[in-house]
Subunit: 241 residues, 2 copies
Amino acid sequence: MNALPGHFYAVGIGPGSPDLLTVRAVKIIESADIILTPQAKGSNRSLALHAIEPYLRSQEILTVNYPMQRNGHDTRERWNSIAVEILNKLQQGVSVAMVTIGDPLIFATTSYMISGLSTALPSENIHLIPGISAFQIGASRFHDPLTLQEDRLTLMSATDLTAVENALNHCETLVLYKAASVIDELLEILKKRGLLPTTKLVSCAEQGEGELILNGLENGIPEDLSYMTTLIIRLGEKQWT
Amino acid sequence: MNALPGHFYAVGIGPGSPDLLTVRAVKIIESADIILTPQAKGSNRSLALHAIEPYLRSQEILTVNYPMQRNGHDTRERWNSIAVEILNKLQQGVSVAMVTIGDPLIFATTSYMISGLSTALPSENIHLIPGISAFQIGASRFHDPLTLQEDRLTLMSATDLTAVENALNHCETLVLYKAASVIDELLEILKKRGLLPTTKLVSCAEQGEGELILNGLENGIPEDLSYMTTLIIRLGEKQWT
């Protein structure tokens, strides 16, 4: 499958290691005219560029900046203006592959971009290629299932602590993204419930030196956790009846 | 990364298309001595073998049968006996890659196998390679996010209907695996809640002719759904506050 002229590809590139892209993602990246790499303002390196480096030849690299903020309106505005810029290029007949760490539909800015493009680009010119998400690579470092039999798996951002408390009552495995900014509060909640020993912490897996993998949190955690910190909490098993 | 002698690899191979394996999965499969393909009793073809066919050279293919049943004890017994057989081969110094449709930790028999091996094989000789799960390829056929901002995503088997009703109240996106056997009851539940138009059905995505993709179920569904049927129900948005 090669990138087609005038088509847009939202490509999930997995956690950060070049060999965790799918073969399809590699082919689209290799054949696209333009590689669009979003970069949050303030971050000083592009993890995505490292992950796709072995697949770069003569493609144009277009880096777009966006603000890392919790403001839905401003976020959408920024992505709509990026979408206008990209639409212009697509209409000139080039192919564009936007690369996203993880999966483009799981907590990814790609969704804003697709929404911005959808008003003017035919649906059949928009393609999504799934990628390995952080919770999958995180879980793969341990030997416990995420879900088996009748287990429920919930993925959410850790930032709403009331919602976290609620979710702990309604699933067998809870995955919390973006755990770093509220880690002290999370540890308190987990401690109260006796869950520290069965909680796993994964930070920057497959991203080189910064990688941190903890199986059980009862002995504490390092300070200065990366933004990209995920907790995997195994709460129980729901067996077949 | 090549498969090492005496090491076991649980390799997620994605939904069924050979280009949806990761590069790492391909390399392990290409370099393993033995490829272990589980086959549920009664199924008449090996989807996994089709997905990895381009990567097969001189590897030995070992197909193991297991009963598709909702009996935890018997399932574990069967996998423990397969594990003994595989341990014997590993101890002779061969490398074994067990291939699993989807991701090895998301509703996959791989978890029983790993549990069986873990009693006798050192932890560092067991490796998991994540794969694209059915919900990811399913969602990629539409342009809606699975999760954004503060959304909660829950994955579960559809078979416990009370748990399904409960989950509909506690997330923004609900993914139901194994929906075929209870599809009439599910449609009734979704109809009552006015959710038929926003429910997506994906069956055998990337598996060739049998693929079925429905965006909205208000106009009914075909009879004879495949066992591999997933529903993706978008319930709302939970925005940043």
